[in-house]
């Protein structure tokens, strides 16, 4: 690929990391993301009803976005992402970990501009199967919808 990337640098870096590996190593990297997924902060851990379920995933996962408008408002506000998924669902946790590392801290505009085919760019289709990647698409779609709703609500 020589065309300029339409991904934020943080996500492009992850895409490049996966592309450089063989399938078994891609699984190991996905497992690393799974292990590094941050735990929910206490304010959400105690209020699971605030998180949105993602039924496209085979295993239960819940997510929540936050719009930090302390520095800038509207689509220049900073997005933070929170996920909750059990340890017996490492693939789903891995997908969440990729989105967390690649998108947390981006502006709302950058989050909304992430292309829907991101999961298919991760070179994971052969390692985990395309069907399983649909769970990640479900998470991305929900993140973007929440961010859109929160921008509107803050106006």
């Amino acid at each position: 690929m020589t065309q300029p990337s339409d991904l934020p640098g943080s996500l492009q870096e992850i895409v490049d990391d996966f592309a450089a590996l063989t399938n078994p190593d891609r699984l190991q990297l996905l497992l690393d993301f799974s292990r590094e997924l941050p735990a929910l902060p206490a304010r959400y851990a105690e209020h699971p009803e605030l998180l949105e379920p993602v039924p496209e995933c085979q295993s239960p996962i819940f997510l929540l976005t936050e719009l930090d408008t302390s520095q800038a408002a509207g689509d220049r506000a900073t997005v933070h992402l929170y996920f909750s998924a059990p340890p017996e669902a490492p693939t789903t946790r891995g997908f969440a970990g990729i989105l967390q590392e690649g998108m947390d801290g981006l502006t709302a505009a950058e989050v909304l501009a992430v292309p829907a085919d991101l999961p298919m760019r991760l070179s994971l289709a052969d390692a985990v199967s395309p069907l399983r990647l649909r769970g990640m698409s479900g998470m991305l779609g929900r993140i973007q919808r929440q961010v859109r709703e929160k921008i509107t609500a803050a106006q």
């Binding site: 699984l27 497992l31 496209e56 295993s59 490492p90 693939t91 985990v128 399983r132 479900g138």
Partner: protein
């Protein structure tokens, strides 16, 4: 198979009441027999990474998407691909295979069913699966074994008596059929499992005449199978099935119905139980096949 079983059977008294006690092993039996010559332990999960987080020492991974499904046609791998898979995993034709996995052994039972399509004779399930092994604090490792390559023969699938296709299911309407999905999928309120991805069925409901027995009724909370008496009370008592019946089981893609296939075939000794792996993702999309909505078989 003419050679005698070299890996001993599990004499756990719980299994003695099942029709085929040789098709199950307990976690204790497996712990005692790990490393036995002629035994290969296979982990098969819904989650493709679970094996990598830690597995039973010496076990090899078989993934239903990547290893058992043909990548192009909606079918299982062909005979050469299956032989290659087994050889790579160190499995010979006379190897004793013990399969275990997550989700109360759904995918383990599914793998066992696919192994059976290829006529592998000695396949056993670990009662309680991965969850029970883990709950008992037994050893897990991230060391991936490098099995010595085996020489598995290329054997064509013999699906008769094990697998049902849509025309056969259609012809079977009016005879015993079990829908193992959740009540809401059976009634047609929804076309996929609660909290599961929608694999795309245009219509909801069930095949006319199919009785609803969600797969989970056959499992205890710890993922082990219910006792023979409890299972008989459900399938023969409540649902009126007989071991001599010709039964077809289905779900959404054939994984949960593999669990029920195992129960009817090996635990209750039904003569003929076929899994309809096309299941609702085929029937619910097929043109002009009959469908019944609501909670009655119809």
């Amino acid at each position: 198979m003419t050679s005698p079983t070299t890996v001993p059977l599990d004499s756990d008294p719980k299994f003695a009441d099942y029709a085929a006690p040789e098709a199950l092993v307990s976690t204790q039996w497996l712990a005692d027999h790990l490393g036995d010559p002629g035994l290969v332990v296979v982990e098969s999960d819904e989650d493709v990474l679970l094996y990598e987080t830690g597995h039973i020492p010496g076990s090899v991974k078989v993934d239903w998407h990547l290893d058992l499904n043909d990548p192009v046609t909606r079918d299982y791998v062909d005979a050469p691909a299956f032989a290659e898979l087994m050889s790579r995993k160190g499995i010979d034709r006379d190897t004793t295979i013990v399969v275990y996995g997550d989700k109360s052994n759904w995918w383990a039972a599914y793998a066992m069913w696919v192994f059976s399509l290829f006529g592998h004779s000695d396949v056993r399930l670990l009662d309680g699966g991965r969850a029970k092994w883990q709950a008992e604090g037994r050893e897990l490792t991230t060391d991936v074994p490098t099995p010595e390559r085996a020489d598995y023969p290329v054997v064509e699938r013999d699906e008769s008596g094990l697998r049902a296709f849509l025309p056969e299911v259609r012809a079977h309407i009016g005879r015993p059929m079990i829908d193992v999905r959740s009540p809401a999928e059976y009634s047609g309120e929804r076309t996929h499992m609660p909290d599961y991805p929608d694999e795309g069925a245009l219509r909801g409901g069930h095949i006319p005449g199919a009785q609803s027995v969600p797969w989970s009724r056959a499992a205890n909370d710890d993922g082990t199978f219910r006792s023979a008496a409890e299972l008989r009370a459900i399938y023969t008592g409540e649902k009126g099935l007989q071991p001599t019946d010709d039964v077809i089981a289905y779900c959404r893609i054939g994984e949960r119905s593999s669990h029920t296939w195992f129960v009817l075939r090996y635990l209750l000794g039904f003569d003929k139980v076929r899994n309809y792996d096309g299941s609702w993702t085929e029937w619910g999309n097929a043109v002009r096949v009959p469908i019944v909505k609501g909670d009655q078989p119809g």
